[in-house]
Symmetry: C2
Subunit: 214 residues, 2 copies
Protein backbone atom coordinates (compact mmCIF):
# COMPACT_ATOMS: atom_id res chain seq x y z
CA UNK A 1 0.00 0.00 0.00
CA UNK A 2 1.48 3.37 -0.99
CA UNK A 3 1.43 6.40 1.26
CA UNK A 4 -1.32 7.89 -0.92
CA UNK A 5 -3.47 4.77 -0.60
CA UNK A 6 -3.03 4.81 3.18
CA UNK A 7 -4.11 8.46 3.19
CA UNK A 8 -7.29 7.70 1.22
CA UNK A 9 -8.07 4.81 3.56
CA UNK A 10 -7.66 6.81 6.74
CA UNK A 11 -9.73 9.69 5.32
CA UNK A 12 -12.50 7.21 4.53
CA UNK A 13 -12.18 5.61 7.98
CA UNK A 14 -12.61 9.02 9.62
CA UNK A 15 -15.59 9.82 7.42
CA UNK A 16 -17.33 6.55 8.31
CA UNK A 17 -16.56 6.78 12.02
CA UNK A 18 -17.82 10.37 12.07
CA UNK A 19 -20.93 9.31 10.16
CA UNK A 20 -21.67 6.65 12.78
CA UNK A 21 -21.43 9.23 15.55
CA UNK A 22 -23.45 11.90 13.65
CA UNK A 23 -26.11 9.29 12.82
CA UNK A 24 -26.30 8.26 16.49
CA UNK A 25 -26.10 11.63 18.28
CA UNK A 26 -26.53 14.44 15.76
CA UNK A 27 -23.96 17.13 14.99
CA UNK A 28 -23.85 19.10 18.22
CA UNK A 29 -23.58 16.12 20.57
CA UNK A 30 -20.96 14.36 18.42
CA UNK A 31 -17.46 14.63 19.89
CA UNK A 32 -14.18 14.26 18.00
CA UNK A 33 -12.91 12.09 20.86
CA UNK A 34 -15.56 9.49 20.14
CA UNK A 35 -14.86 9.71 16.40
CA UNK A 36 -11.14 9.17 17.05
CA UNK A 37 -11.78 6.25 19.40
CA UNK A 38 -13.69 4.48 16.62
CA UNK A 39 -10.84 4.86 14.10
CA UNK A 40 -7.81 4.17 16.26
CA UNK A 41 -6.08 7.10 14.53
CA UNK A 42 -4.30 9.97 16.27
CA UNK A 43 -5.73 13.46 16.58
CA UNK A 44 -2.89 14.59 14.29
CA UNK A 45 -4.07 12.21 11.57
CA UNK A 46 -7.65 13.51 11.97
CA UNK A 47 -6.60 17.14 11.58
CA UNK A 48 -4.37 16.25 8.65
CA UNK A 49 -7.51 15.25 6.72
CA UNK A 50 -10.10 17.56 8.26
CA UNK A 51 -9.33 20.84 10.04
CA UNK A 52 -12.51 20.70 12.15
CA UNK A 53 -15.68 18.76 13.03
CA UNK A 54 -17.52 21.09 10.67
CA UNK A 55 -15.24 20.07 7.79
CA UNK A 56 -16.06 16.39 8.42
CA UNK A 57 -19.78 17.16 8.50
CA UNK A 58 -19.57 19.03 5.19
CA UNK A 59 -17.76 16.06 3.62
CA UNK A 60 -20.52 13.76 4.94
CA UNK A 61 -23.16 16.05 3.44
CA UNK A 62 -21.41 15.77 0.06
CA UNK A 63 -22.16 12.05 0.05
CA UNK A 64 -25.89 12.72 -0.33
CA UNK A 65 -25.54 14.13 -3.83
CA UNK A 66 -23.70 11.08 -5.10
CA UNK A 67 -26.64 8.89 -4.09
CA UNK A 68 -28.79 10.67 -6.66
CA UNK A 69 -26.58 10.53 -9.72
CA UNK A 70 -27.71 7.05 -10.82
CA UNK A 71 -31.31 7.66 -11.87
CA UNK A 72 -33.01 4.35 -12.70
CA UNK A 73 -33.89 4.34 -16.41
CA UNK A 74 -37.41 3.50 -17.41
CA UNK A 75 -39.69 4.20 -20.33
CA UNK A 76 -41.83 6.02 -17.71
CA UNK A 77 -40.28 8.98 -15.92
CA UNK A 78 -42.71 8.53 -13.03
CA UNK A 79 -41.40 5.00 -12.58
CA UNK A 80 -37.89 6.49 -12.42
CA UNK A 81 -39.00 8.82 -9.61
CA UNK A 82 -40.54 5.91 -7.71
CA UNK A 83 -37.47 3.71 -8.16
CA UNK A 84 -35.12 6.54 -7.20
CA UNK A 85 -36.87 6.51 -3.82
CA UNK A 86 -36.54 2.75 -3.45
CA UNK A 87 -32.85 2.86 -4.44
CA UNK A 88 -32.28 5.65 -1.93
CA UNK A 89 -34.07 3.66 0.79
CA UNK A 90 -31.96 0.62 -0.02
CA UNK A 91 -28.71 2.59 0.18
CA UNK A 92 -29.75 4.08 3.53
CA UNK A 93 -29.76 0.57 4.97
CA UNK A 94 -26.14 -0.15 4.06
CA UNK A 95 -24.48 3.28 3.86
CA UNK A 96 -23.86 4.97 7.21
CA UNK A 97 -22.42 8.07 5.54
CA UNK A 98 -25.69 8.60 3.66
CA UNK A 99 -27.67 8.01 6.90
CA UNK A 100 -25.60 10.68 8.64
CA UNK A 101 -25.99 13.04 5.66
CA UNK A 102 -29.79 12.91 5.73
CA UNK A 103 -29.77 13.55 9.48
CA UNK A 104 -27.37 16.52 9.15
CA UNK A 105 -29.40 17.86 6.21
CA UNK A 106 -32.63 18.33 8.17
CA UNK A 107 -31.53 18.75 11.77
CA UNK A 108 -31.34 22.12 13.44
CA UNK A 109 -27.75 22.39 14.71
CA UNK A 110 -24.96 24.91 15.12
CA UNK A 111 -23.60 23.69 11.76
CA UNK A 112 -23.98 26.24 8.98
CA UNK A 113 -25.22 24.24 6.04
CA UNK A 114 -23.82 24.95 2.57
CA UNK A 115 -25.93 27.10 0.25
CA UNK A 116 -26.65 24.14 -2.01
CA UNK A 117 -27.98 21.65 0.50
CA UNK A 118 -28.28 17.97 -0.30
CA UNK A 119 -32.02 18.54 -0.49
CA UNK A 120 -31.52 20.98 -3.33
CA UNK A 121 -29.86 18.18 -5.24
CA UNK A 122 -32.69 15.71 -4.57
CA UNK A 123 -35.21 18.36 -5.50
CA UNK A 124 -33.45 19.21 -8.77
CA UNK A 125 -33.32 15.56 -9.86
CA UNK A 126 -36.96 14.85 -8.98
CA UNK A 127 -38.11 18.14 -10.51
CA UNK A 128 -36.35 17.36 -13.83
CA UNK A 129 -37.91 13.88 -13.93
CA UNK A 130 -41.39 15.27 -13.19
CA UNK A 131 -41.02 18.05 -15.79
CA UNK A 132 -40.03 15.40 -18.33
CA UNK A 133 -42.96 13.22 -17.22
CA UNK A 134 -45.31 16.18 -17.68
CA UNK A 135 -44.03 16.82 -21.23
CA UNK A 136 -44.63 13.17 -22.09
CA UNK A 137 -48.19 13.32 -20.82
CA UNK A 138 -47.53 11.00 -17.87
CA UNK A 139 -48.85 13.47 -15.29
CA UNK A 140 -52.21 15.05 -14.52
CA UNK A 141 -52.90 18.05 -16.76
CA UNK A 142 -51.75 21.28 -15.12
CA UNK A 143 -49.38 19.63 -12.66
CA UNK A 144 -46.66 22.04 -11.48
CA UNK A 145 -43.41 19.99 -11.46
CA UNK A 146 -41.74 22.31 -8.93
CA UNK A 147 -44.57 22.09 -6.42
CA UNK A 148 -44.98 18.36 -7.02
CA UNK A 149 -41.23 17.77 -6.52
CA UNK A 150 -41.38 19.61 -3.19
CA UNK A 151 -44.31 17.48 -2.06
CA UNK A 152 -42.59 14.25 -3.15
CA UNK A 153 -39.30 15.12 -1.41
CA UNK A 154 -41.09 16.21 1.77
CA UNK A 155 -43.33 13.14 1.86
CA UNK A 156 -40.35 10.83 1.27
CA UNK A 157 -38.48 12.55 4.09
CA UNK A 158 -41.43 12.15 6.45
CA UNK A 159 -41.82 8.46 5.60
CA UNK A 160 -38.09 7.93 6.17
CA UNK A 161 -38.30 9.66 9.57
CA UNK A 162 -41.39 7.74 10.72
CA UNK A 163 -39.94 4.44 9.57
CA UNK A 164 -36.83 5.16 11.62
CA UNK A 165 -38.83 6.08 14.72
CA UNK A 166 -41.02 2.98 14.57
CA UNK A 167 -38.88 0.22 13.08
CA UNK A 168 -35.32 1.59 12.69
CA UNK A 169 -36.11 1.78 8.92
CA UNK A 170 -37.00 -1.92 8.53
CA UNK A 171 -40.46 -1.09 7.09
CA UNK A 172 -39.29 1.72 4.80
CA UNK A 173 -40.07 -0.13 1.51
CA UNK A 174 -43.63 -0.97 2.66
CA UNK A 175 -44.17 2.62 3.80
CA UNK A 176 -42.96 3.90 0.43
CA UNK A 177 -45.41 1.60 -1.36
CA UNK A 178 -48.27 3.00 0.75
CA UNK A 179 -47.05 6.54 0.06
CA UNK A 180 -47.00 6.03 -3.72
CA UNK A 181 -50.43 4.39 -3.71
CA UNK A 182 -51.76 7.55 -2.04
CA UNK A 183 -49.70 10.10 -3.99
CA UNK A 184 -50.06 8.78 -7.54
CA UNK A 185 -53.72 9.73 -8.11
CA UNK A 186 -52.68 13.35 -7.44
CA UNK A 187 -49.64 13.19 -9.75
CA UNK A 188 -50.15 10.68 -12.57
CA UNK A 189 -52.48 10.78 -15.56
CA UNK A 190 -55.31 8.32 -14.82
CA UNK A 191 -54.20 5.91 -17.56
CA UNK A 192 -50.67 5.75 -16.11
CA UNK A 193 -51.45 4.55 -12.61
CA UNK A 194 -52.07 0.88 -13.42
CA UNK A 195 -48.82 0.81 -15.41
CA UNK A 196 -46.65 1.98 -12.51
CA UNK A 197 -45.05 -0.41 -10.03
CA UNK A 198 -45.26 0.90 -6.46
CA UNK A 199 -43.26 -1.97 -4.92
CA UNK A 200 -39.44 -2.20 -4.91
CA UNK A 201 -37.94 -3.35 -8.21
CA UNK A 202 -37.12 -7.07 -8.36
CA UNK A 203 -33.42 -8.00 -8.67
CA UNK A 204 -33.87 -9.14 -12.30
CA UNK A 205 -35.15 -5.77 -13.43
CA UNK A 206 -38.68 -4.94 -14.47
CA UNK A 207 -40.23 -8.40 -14.50
CA UNK A 208 -42.91 -7.36 -12.00
CA UNK A 209 -43.94 -4.35 -14.07
CA UNK A 210 -44.08 -6.27 -17.33
CA UNK A 211 -46.11 -9.03 -15.74
CA UNK A 212 -48.57 -6.53 -14.35
CA UNK A 213 -48.95 -4.33 -17.42
CA UNK A 214 -49.65 -7.24 -19.76
Amino acid sequence: MTKQERGIRSRQAILEAAAEVFDLRGYDAAGTNEILARTGLTRGALYHHFPSKEAIALAVLDAHGAALTAVPEHASRLQSVIDLGFAFADRLRTDVVLRAAVRLAVERTSLTRPAVTPYEQSRAVVRALLADAAERGETLPGLDPDEAADVVIAAFTGVRVMSQVYTDRADLPERLTALWRTLLPGLAAPGMISRLRTTPPTPDGDAATSARSR
Copy 2:
Protein backbone atom coordinates in the same frame (compact mmCIF):
# COMPACT_ATOMS: atom_id res chain seq x y z
CA MET B 1 -48.90 34.92 44.80
CA THR B 2 -49.09 31.82 47.00
CA LYS B 3 -46.26 29.32 47.34
CA GLN B 4 -48.21 26.92 45.15
CA GLU B 5 -48.66 29.51 42.40
CA ARG B 6 -44.95 30.28 42.50
CA GLY B 7 -44.21 26.57 42.18
CA ILE B 8 -46.43 26.24 39.11
CA ARG B 9 -44.79 29.29 37.55
CA SER B 10 -41.27 28.09 38.07
CA ARG B 11 -42.13 24.61 36.76
CA GLN B 12 -43.55 26.23 33.62
CA ALA B 13 -40.49 28.51 33.31
CA ILE B 14 -38.18 25.48 33.43
CA LEU B 15 -40.31 23.64 30.88
CA GLU B 16 -40.21 26.56 28.43
CA ALA B 17 -36.50 27.24 28.91
CA ALA B 18 -35.74 23.55 28.40
CA ALA B 19 -37.98 23.51 25.31
CA GLU B 20 -36.02 26.43 23.84
CA VAL B 21 -32.76 24.56 24.34
CA PHE B 22 -34.13 21.21 23.06
CA ASP B 23 -35.61 22.97 20.00
CA LEU B 24 -32.26 24.64 19.31
CA ARG B 25 -29.80 21.82 20.01
CA GLY B 26 -31.66 18.54 20.37
CA TYR B 27 -31.74 16.36 23.48
CA ASP B 28 -28.16 15.13 23.71
CA ALA B 29 -26.49 18.51 23.17
CA ALA B 30 -28.85 20.33 25.57
CA GLY B 31 -27.22 21.11 28.90
CA THR B 32 -28.98 21.77 32.20
CA ASN B 33 -26.58 24.71 32.78
CA GLU B 34 -27.96 26.49 29.72
CA ILE B 35 -31.53 25.68 30.78
CA LEU B 36 -30.86 27.11 34.24
CA ALA B 37 -29.20 30.24 32.83
CA ARG B 38 -32.37 30.99 30.87
CA THR B 39 -34.63 30.70 33.93
CA GLY B 40 -32.50 32.47 36.54
CA LEU B 41 -33.52 29.69 38.98
CA THR B 42 -31.13 27.67 41.14
CA ARG B 43 -30.16 24.09 40.42
CA GLY B 44 -32.02 23.15 43.59
CA ALA B 45 -35.22 24.64 42.21
CA LEU B 46 -34.74 22.73 38.96
CA TYR B 47 -34.31 19.39 40.74
CA HIS B 48 -37.27 20.15 42.98
CA HIS B 49 -39.50 20.04 39.88
CA PHE B 50 -37.62 17.58 37.67
CA PRO B 51 -35.15 14.96 38.94
CA SER B 52 -33.26 14.84 35.61
CA LYS B 53 -32.96 16.20 32.07
CA GLU B 54 -34.84 13.09 30.95
CA ALA B 55 -37.77 13.98 33.22
CA ILE B 56 -38.00 17.44 31.63
CA ALA B 57 -37.89 15.93 28.13
CA LEU B 58 -40.72 13.52 29.00
CA ALA B 59 -42.81 16.44 30.30
CA VAL B 60 -42.12 18.31 27.04
CA LEU B 61 -43.23 15.27 25.03
CA ASP B 62 -46.51 15.25 26.97
CA ALA B 63 -47.33 18.65 25.49
CA HIS B 64 -47.71 17.16 22.02
CA GLY B 65 -50.80 15.17 22.92
CA ALA B 66 -52.62 18.21 24.24
CA ALA B 67 -52.23 19.90 20.84
CA LEU B 68 -54.46 17.23 19.33
CA THR B 69 -57.39 17.24 21.71
CA ALA B 70 -59.23 20.10 19.99
CA VAL B 71 -60.29 18.55 16.71
CA PRO B 72 -61.87 21.19 14.46
CA GLU B 73 -65.54 20.29 13.92
CA HIS B 74 -66.85 20.15 10.38
CA ALA B 75 -69.64 18.42 8.53
CA SER B 76 -66.79 16.77 6.59
CA ARG B 77 -64.35 14.62 8.52
CA LEU B 78 -61.71 15.10 5.82
CA GLN B 79 -61.95 18.85 6.37
CA SER B 80 -61.36 18.19 10.08
CA VAL B 81 -58.17 16.27 9.23
CA ILE B 82 -56.99 19.12 6.98
CA ASP B 83 -57.75 21.77 9.59
CA LEU B 84 -56.13 19.75 12.36
CA GLY B 85 -52.91 20.07 10.36
CA PHE B 86 -53.34 23.82 9.92
CA ALA B 87 -54.11 24.28 13.63
CA PHE B 88 -51.05 22.24 14.52
CA ALA B 89 -48.88 24.31 12.14
CA ASP B 90 -50.24 27.50 13.68
CA ARG B 91 -49.48 26.34 17.22
CA LEU B 92 -45.95 25.35 16.22
CA ARG B 93 -45.27 28.99 15.40
CA THR B 94 -46.17 30.25 18.85
CA ASP B 95 -45.56 27.30 21.18
CA VAL B 96 -41.91 26.47 21.83
CA VAL B 97 -42.83 23.48 24.01
CA LEU B 98 -44.67 21.91 21.06
CA ARG B 99 -41.74 22.68 18.75
CA ALA B 100 -39.38 20.92 21.14
CA ALA B 101 -41.81 18.00 21.48
CA VAL B 102 -41.94 17.32 17.75
CA ARG B 103 -38.14 17.44 17.58
CA LEU B 104 -37.74 15.05 20.53
CA ALA B 105 -40.40 12.77 19.06
CA VAL B 106 -38.54 12.02 15.83
CA GLU B 107 -34.89 12.56 16.69
CA ARG B 108 -32.51 9.71 17.39
CA THR B 109 -31.07 10.47 20.84
CA SER B 110 -30.04 8.73 24.03
CA LEU B 111 -33.51 9.52 25.41
CA THR B 112 -35.71 6.45 25.79
CA ARG B 113 -39.06 7.53 24.42
CA PRO B 114 -42.24 6.46 26.21
CA ALA B 115 -44.14 3.49 24.78
CA VAL B 116 -46.99 5.73 23.67
CA THR B 117 -45.12 8.32 21.65
CA PRO B 118 -46.69 11.63 20.71
CA TYR B 119 -46.93 10.27 17.18
CA GLU B 120 -49.15 7.47 18.38
CA GLN B 121 -51.54 10.13 19.63
CA SER B 122 -51.54 12.01 16.31
CA ARG B 123 -52.00 8.77 14.46
CA ALA B 124 -54.93 7.66 16.60
CA VAL B 125 -56.75 10.98 16.12
CA VAL B 126 -56.21 11.06 12.33
CA ARG B 127 -57.07 7.36 12.00
CA ALA B 128 -60.38 7.82 13.84
CA LEU B 129 -61.29 10.80 11.66
CA LEU B 130 -60.42 8.90 8.45
CA ALA B 131 -62.35 5.80 9.58
CA ASP B 132 -65.34 8.04 10.24
CA ALA B 133 -64.84 9.73 6.85
CA ALA B 134 -64.77 6.30 5.17
CA GLU B 135 -68.04 5.27 6.85
CA ARG B 136 -69.67 8.47 5.63
CA GLY B 137 -68.55 7.82 2.07
CA GLU B 138 -66.14 10.77 2.01
CA THR B 139 -63.15 8.63 1.00
CA LEU B 140 -62.19 6.57 -2.04
CA PRO B 141 -63.80 3.11 -1.95
CA GLY B 142 -61.47 0.58 -0.34
CA LEU B 143 -59.33 3.15 1.46
CA ASP B 144 -57.55 1.65 4.49
CA PRO B 145 -57.82 4.30 7.26
CA ASP B 146 -54.79 2.92 9.13
CA GLU B 147 -52.51 3.02 6.12
CA ALA B 148 -53.89 6.40 5.03
CA ALA B 149 -53.36 7.85 8.54
CA ASP B 150 -49.73 6.71 8.49
CA VAL B 151 -49.20 8.35 5.10
CA VAL B 152 -50.87 11.60 6.23
CA ILE B 153 -48.84 11.81 9.47
CA ALA B 154 -45.57 11.01 7.69
CA ALA B 155 -46.23 13.50 4.88
CA PHE B 156 -47.18 16.21 7.39
CA THR B 157 -43.97 15.52 9.31
CA GLY B 158 -41.88 15.74 6.16
CA VAL B 159 -43.51 19.01 5.13
CA ARG B 160 -42.90 20.42 8.61
CA VAL B 161 -39.22 19.40 8.48
CA MET B 162 -38.63 20.81 4.98
CA SER B 163 -40.40 24.04 5.84
CA GLN B 164 -38.11 24.43 8.84
CA VAL B 165 -34.96 23.73 6.80
CA TYR B 166 -35.85 26.21 4.07
CA THR B 167 -37.81 29.01 5.73
CA ASP B 168 -37.75 28.39 9.49
CA ARG B 169 -41.43 27.29 9.11
CA ALA B 170 -42.62 30.56 7.51
CA ASP B 171 -44.01 28.76 4.43
CA LEU B 172 -45.59 25.86 6.33
CA PRO B 173 -49.23 26.82 5.48
CA GLU B 174 -48.44 27.09 1.74
CA ARG B 175 -46.60 23.77 1.82
CA LEU B 176 -49.56 22.14 3.55
CA THR B 177 -51.89 23.47 0.85
CA ALA B 178 -49.65 21.94 -1.84
CA LEU B 179 -49.54 18.67 0.11
CA TRP B 180 -53.34 18.44 0.38
CA ARG B 181 -53.81 19.27 -3.30
CA THR B 182 -51.56 16.30 -4.12
CA LEU B 183 -52.86 13.91 -1.44
CA LEU B 184 -56.61 14.41 -1.75
CA PRO B 185 -57.11 12.63 -5.10
CA GLY B 186 -55.67 9.49 -3.44
CA LEU B 187 -57.83 9.85 -0.31
CA ALA B 188 -61.14 11.57 -1.05
CA ALA B 189 -64.13 10.39 -3.06
CA PRO B 190 -64.05 12.30 -6.37
CA GLY B 191 -67.18 14.30 -5.51
CA MET B 192 -65.66 15.49 -2.24
CA ILE B 193 -62.50 17.16 -3.53
CA SER B 194 -64.09 20.38 -4.80
CA ARG B 195 -65.92 20.75 -1.47
CA LEU B 196 -62.75 20.66 0.64
CA ARG B 197 -60.77 23.76 1.54
CA THR B 198 -57.00 23.16 1.29
CA THR B 199 -56.05 26.63 2.53
CA PRO B 200 -55.92 27.66 6.22
CA PRO B 201 -59.33 28.43 7.75
CA THR B 202 -60.23 32.12 7.82
CA PRO B 203 -60.54 33.74 11.27
CA ASP B 204 -64.34 34.02 10.94
CA GLY B 205 -64.82 30.30 10.51
CA ASP B 206 -65.85 28.56 7.34
CA ALA B 207 -66.72 31.53 5.16
CA ALA B 208 -64.22 30.46 2.50
CA THR B 209 -65.63 26.95 2.34
CA SER B 210 -69.25 28.07 2.15
CA ALA B 211 -68.43 30.64 -0.52
CA ARG B 212 -66.68 28.05 -2.58
CA SER B 213 -69.21 25.24 -2.20
CA ARG B 214 -72.17 27.38 -3.20
